[in-house]
C-alpha cells in the first residue's frame, strides 16, 4: 500500500470555517493516492476536521492582529502510516481539553490510531496517525 520512501505535504490556510472543506479535500486526495480505503479516508477527514475546527474556534481568540491566524497541516507519509499534524500559532490550550472541545478530541481518538497534543504559549500541535490497517477494516 505505502511506498518505502517518505513524502511530506504542507498546507497553510486562513483559520476560517470556509477553508475546512478545502483542507479535507487535499488530505483525502493524499490518503487516496496512498491506497487508503474509503472508510479510512472518511475517518481521517473527520479527525482532521475536528482538529482544524478547534483551531478556528479557539486558537486565536486572544491573539493580536499581528499574529498570523492560520492553520498549518503537515502530512507525513511513510510505510508506518499516515501522519497528520495540525498546527496553530495561537495562545495554546488547556490540557486536558475543556468540555467544549471534548467531543471533538473524543472523535479524533476514536477514529485515529494515535493522537498527541503539544501546546505552549506559542501555539498548539495536534499530531494524529492512521496506521495502514484501520480499526474498521480489521
Amino acid at each position: 500500500m505505502h511506498k518505502d520512501h517518505k513524502k511530506v505535504l504542507s498546507l497553510v490556510v486562513p483559520a476560517k470555517p470556509e477553508y475546512l472543506s478545502l483542507v479535507r479535500l487535499v488530505v483525502a486526495a493524499a490518503a487516496k493516492n496512498e491506497g487508503f480505503s474509503d472508510n479510512s479516508i472518511a475517518d481521517i477527514k473527520v479527525a482532521l476536521s475536528e482538529a482544524c475546527t478547534n483551531v478556528v474556534r479557539h486558537a486565536y481568540l486572544a491573539a493580536n492582529d499581528d499574529v498570523k491566524k492560520v492553520i498549518q497541516v503537515k502530512i507525513d507519509l511513510d510505510k508506518t502510516g499516515f501522519q497528520i499534524e495540525v498546527l496553530d500559532y495561537g495562545h495554546g490550550m488547556a490540557l486536558p481539553p475543556p468540555p467544549s472541545e471534548g467531543l471533538g478530541f473524543g472523535i479524533m481518538g476514536s477514529l485515529m490510531d494515535k493522537v498527541d497534543v503539544e501546546t505552549s504559549d506559542d501555539g498548539t500541535t495536534v499530531q494524529m496517525i492512521k496506521k495502514v490497517v484501520a480499526l474498521r477494516n480489521c
Binding site: A42, T53, G104
Partner: protein, 115 residues
C-alpha cells in the same frame, strides 16, 4: 460539494429539514438557523433528513444535540434520516445513536416522529 438546506411543513404539522452536502463548522450554523426558525414557528415535531449528507463532524452534532435539548422540555421530538455509512459511524462512535432515533427513509422518520 454544494451545501443546500430546505425546510418544509407536512400537513400533519411536522417540519422536515432536508440537508445536502457536508455538515461542518462552516455549514452547521445554517442547520442551527433552520432548527431555531422551526422552533420559533412553534413546531415541535422535526425530521432532519440527512440523506444527502456524506460528512458530519462535532460542529453539526452539537447543533443537533441543541435541537433535542430545546425540544425536550416542550415534549417535542427530533428524529434523523441518515443513510451514509460514514455519517452513521460518527453517530455510533460518539454514542449519539442512542440519543437520536435514526431512520433509513423519510417515510419511516415521519412515522417515528409522530409515534
Amino acid at each position: 460539494m454544494e451545501f443546500n438546506i430546505e425546510t418544509e411543513k407536512t400537513p400533519a404539522g411536522v417540519a422536515v429539514i432536508e440537508v445536502a452536502g457536508e455538515l461542518d463548522l462552516y455549514t452547521a450554523p445554517r442547520l442551527k438557523e433552520a432548527l431555531l426558525s422551526t422552533l420559533e414557528d412553534g413546531i415541535l415535531r422535526i425530521v432532519v433528513d440527512m440523506s444527502g449528507v456524506h460528512f458530519i463532524d462535532s460542529s453539526a452534532l452539537g447543533v443537533l444535540i441543541g435541537g433535542v435539548k430545546r425540544l425536550k422540555p416542550k415534549e417535542g421530538k427530533l428524529v434523523l434520516v441518515s443513510v451514509d455509512e460514514n455519517v452513521n459511524w460518527i453517530f455510533q462512535i460518539t454514542g449519539l445513536n442512542s440519543v437520536f432515533d435514526i431512520f433509513q427513509t423519510r417515510e419511516e422518520a415521519l412515522a417515528g416522529v409522530t409515534a
